[in-house]
Symmetry: D2
Subunit: 157 residues, 4 copies
């Protein structure tokens, strides 16, 4: 991929490929803006499973995972198209008392639609949450350790 | 709307308008095929509430409604576009022992995209289901009565 | 998979795996009914590319593919869940003058949610369409030959 | 609505109601995170039409509207549920040389699911874009005037 001054530096501990479905596109001819959050959601779950070695149980058919998306900022760089395979790279950059920060970098390899390109960048805040008590709780120490081991560096502030 | 030989005759006991969201479209420039099932889902719930006078409780935050979609056949007639208001007409045509048949007619009034037109027709089978026992059950007599009163005719076979 | 009397017999010339995204689920806890049409759409495009050896150009960024979905009947058998990999098997069963019939069989292997199971069956009608003239056209002979070679039998009626 | 310290102050020039579809929910039982961007997209288009008096032509069936979403930050406050009517308030807060900033406030009135509540806040950057030249262009003076008249104050920096 050519240098892009709007790219973000640094390595990512995790990468996941997402195939663009035709139903992800809209009448502008490319992937609808909202779908990028679905791609980030897929990457977030895959990161979590890779870092913890546990299978994520989302929804009503299993224990609820105590990780809530509190904020996500998506910066759109280039459109993505039907049939492309988007690489979603993910890393956790900081761990606070009850929250941590996750960054994604979405890119597309060369395809029939154009050269390889940076597609979007996302910065998000996740909060540890106790669903019974309905309030944020400290990030569990075991999760902090798993994330730091996966990232290969200390992230606690 | 001009006569369309592919239209279906008869009146519909219920009508609901659904506004096409831009996110419902795909790169062909019109509403994606799968979205018509979402429009039918909206109409099905609205029909149920109108016929029974009860607010439908779908999902994990309320009593589960014992009506399962067993089959749906969608016949596509004309494309629909962003910003159009689709009229989804609905009627129940037959009530069997554990199931009943629901028909939808989707049409679009004249808009910036073209004249009024028949958009799609759907024929579906719904099954009364006991989620605890995980098996079909007879359609509840109170529901049959509510539907027949709403439709204004006897539907039991 | 255990025998299921509601299954359909025969082999399928094509199979494609689709991973269930979390965003495909709804508040019932499983995949929303409308999403199965998206899974069928993915399989339809993959079948077409496998049979013809050509990359499908859908939408405004390429030549339009002259294959319109005219009708699709989906029969729902068992729910599917987040994280499952749905196998969508596809075959073309009949070729008429301007249309052909495509059948899909959706199944899920054993997962944390339950044993292997038949998920749904779809029967659809596709129409060859001339977008300039806005009318159905005979199925192109080259496409018929490609499909029959791919299916390994004569399908013209 | 009770005071919420995380709310944002000030008035909004525009408000649009969006009905939550069942298909917008996910297996957590409430609206999926990505759908909020679709609600913002609906409000953005409605704002644009209200401020300019022009019908927005999105996609391949009309002149392309030269307004690209460059960045959107969504802050999630409370879940929203099937059947609720989300009020999406919108205002433009700043107009730069080639871009302007749009803010949304999503709230839900009291419903069967709970009291009235702040649902989410979005802050976005839109860029004026020349699709032929494929580059940002100055925000058109006529658009600036229409927005300032609609907002009732000067926004140029």
């Amino acid at each position: 991929m050519p240098d892009d001054p709007r790219d973000i530096p640094g390595d990512f501990a995790h990468a996941r490929t997402v195939e663009v479905r035709f139903a992800d596109t809209d009448a502008m001819g490319h992937v609808n803006n909202a779908e990028y959050l679905t791609y980030a959601e897929i990457a977030r779950a895959a990161y979590y499973e890779a870092a913890t070695g546990e299978q994520l149980q989302l929804g009503v058919h299993g224990a609820i995972e105590g990780m809530i998306l509190a904020e996500l900022r998506m910066t759109y760089r280039s459109p993505a198209f039907y049939g492309e395979f988007i690489t979603v790279e993910t890393r956790i950059e900081r761990i606070g008392h009850t929250s941590y920060g996750m960054v994604h970098r979405l890119s597309a390899p060369e395809s029939r639609y154009g050269p390889s390109r940076l597609v979007a960048i996302a910065d998000s805040v996740l909060v540890s949450y106790d669903y019974s008590a309905e309030r944020p709780i400290p990030v569990p120490p075991a999760l902090i350790e798993a994330i730091e081991a996966f990232e290969g560096r200390r992230l606690r502030s």
